[in-house]
């Protein structure tokens, strides 16, 4: 019964400090991230841009495979918080900040590279890919002047 069982594509397991999702149709996101690009997807049918990237457009049936687009330029910090306690597997990262960056058409959820009293909602940020230990990959938001 198992003879045609495909090899599992587990690339997504390497996303972030600790992964919880192994299989997804947008695994190519990981290759792009490794190449230094933070990418969302764009529907070839209606042109909507999606972040997080998705394999399917909820509005278009049979529009064909999603296209990739790169997150570029400056966004605005929407909000953030600094964690003093962490869930299992993230303790060594403490303290760290999670945040939302707003690019107008779309937003991203992720880590903030620097934080402190001077960092406020509205502050300009850029988004960059980062390499983590053990071949893991992620992205982070960098506040203006902290590059």
């Amino acid at each position: 019964m198992a003879k045609n069982k495909p090899e599992k594509d587990l690339r997504f397991e390497r996303f972030g400090t600790k992964g919880f999702t192994a299989t997804t149709k947008v695994n190519d996101f990981i290759d792009r991230l490794e190449a230094g690009q933070v990418c969302g997807t764009k529907c070839p049918g209606c042109g909507q841009r999606f972040f997080p990237p998705r394999a399917d457009c909820p509005d278009c049936s049979g529009a064909g495979p999603m296209e990739w687009f790169q997150v570029e330029g400056e966004g605005k910090l929407a909000t953030y918080s600094v964690l003093r306690y962490a869930p299992q597997g993230f303790e060594q990262d403490l303290p760290y900040a999670i945040a939302v960056a707003d690019y107008g058409d779309y937003k991203l959820f992720g880590r903030l590279s620097h934080f402190g009293p001077e960092i406020e909602p509205g502050c300009p940020v850029t988004t960059r890919a980062v390499s983590l230990p053990d071949g893991r990959v992620a992205y982070e938001f960098v506040p203006q002047g902290q590059q």
């Binding site: 600790k18 909000t79 964690l83 760290y96 406020e120 909602p121």
Partner: protein, 384 residues
């Protein structure tokens, strides 16, 4: 469409480390609600069991709980929407009763958060978000609510003291609620010097985990008459909405649009507005949650929440008493039981049976129950 009333309410004490099984815990609320309504178990024509499954070892808890409460062979099922599971149960029971499937149903919420170890809890905490796109960054509930706290304080120029005032109010009433897990007074100073959990939220801005159960019995108007129920409390309006899980897909970080939408539906169905609410239970898992609820429910204008609590208008003798049973901040927050506990408080208030917490002669009450970080919201408007 026929009306539906709540005719029986029950709640276990909310405690740390309940010394029994989930079915024994659920039974405590079940028994109290049955005695309250004066029913025998054969009167219950169907049950909905509500909780968040990740805290259980038992698979499909609806089965063991219906068995223990003697609710076979009537149908039962499990309903989950995180922290608002039991008000979702109320919504579904309302539908099934008005839809003619049953005329009397039990909505039983429970959570035994101590069933799993601390390590297991820490592990599950990390999965309380979009596990593909959020959890890998190391997320947890206080941090998400802290993002909304930062957004709110920044947008409206409010202060951390304003948030702390909400905890001080909760503790005022938690002291007189025998079923609350936290019964000590809390001062503004204690709140402000407490350890940070996720900036800008500190220890006293957060509710405690607890074990507990709640039970509600709903009946059709005909059944209410048949049973001769003396003080039915009617479900006048129900609203419910959802938002994307991932914060990247939200538009606002200083309030919950789901709560606004659920409130608008509930007010519209009931034919009332925020000014008509005499007593409310709102979902205060964190102080910022109650602060946002003031505005999302229309109790305050945008930015008017801090002034509302500074003026003590949400105290028992204020213009709109909120969480005068101590709220989740004092009662504790046994996820699946929480919404049912809120409904119970409003039912007791509307019956005039709330004891030391009683608000003066309320006619219309409201429950606001949120699941996740504004992922799901239910609003119920109830009246005598």
């Amino acid at each position: 469409m026929g009306r539906v009333a709540i005719i029986g309410v029950g709640q276990s004490a909310f405690v740390r480390g309940y010394p029994g099984s989930i079915k024994e815990l659920a039974f405590e609320a079940f028994r109290e609600a049955m005695d309250d309504a004066g029913l025998q178990r054969g009167d219950i024509q169907g049950s909905l069991i509500c909780s968040a499954p990740e805290y259980d070892r038992q698979r499909s808890p609806a089965g063991v709980i219906a068995e223990y409460c003697g609710l076979n062979p009537q149908p039962t099922a499990y309903v989950e929407s995180l922290c608002c599971s039991s008000t979702t149960g109320v919504r579904m029971a309302y539908g099934m009763i008005t839809g003619g499937l049953h005329d009397c149903m039990m909505v039983l919420g429970f959570q035994k958060m101590s069933e799993i170890t601390s390590a297991e809890t820490q592990e599950r905490m990390g999965r309380g978000a979009d596990i593909q796109w959020e959890s890998p960054f190391g997320t947890m509930m206080p941090a998400y609510y802290a993002m909304f706290a930062r957004g709110f304080l920044h947008r409206y120029g409010a202060s951390e003291e304003d948030l702390a005032r909400i905890r001080v109010k909760a503790a005022t009433y938690g002291q007189i609620n025998e079923k609350a897990v936290y019964r000590k007074p809390v001062s503004l100073e204690q709140c402000m010097i407490a350890d940070p959990v996720a900036d800008p939220l500190k220890v006293f801005d957060c509710c405690a985990n607890a074990d507990g159960s709640s039970a509600l019995i709903l009946a059709s108007e005909e059944k209410v008459r048949e049973l001769g129920i003396e003080k039915p409390v009617w479900l006048m309006g129900l609203g419910s909405a959802s938002a994307p899980v991932n914060l990247a897909l939200r538009d606002e970080f200083s309030g919950f649009d789901v709560a606004r939408q659920a409130a608008s539906q509930a007010y519209g169905m009931a034919g009332v507005g925020p000014k008509d609410i005499d007593v409310a239970e709102v979902h205060d898992c964190f102080t910022i949650a109650e602060m946002m609820a003031y505005e999302n429910l229309g109790f305050a204008e945008p930015g008017g929440g801090p002034e509302l609590i500074r003026a003590k208008e949400t105290y028992k003798d204020g213009s709109i008493p909120v969480n005068v049973d101590g709220g989740l901040l004092s009662k504790g927050h046994p996820i699946g039981a929480t919404g049912g506990s809120q409904v119970r408080t409003i039912v007791l208030q509307l019956r005039g049976e709330a004891g030391a917490m009683q608000v003066k002669d309320p006619a219309v009450g409201l429950v606001h129950n949120v699941g996740g970080v504004g992922l799901y919201a239910n609003v119920l408007v109830m009246g005598r």
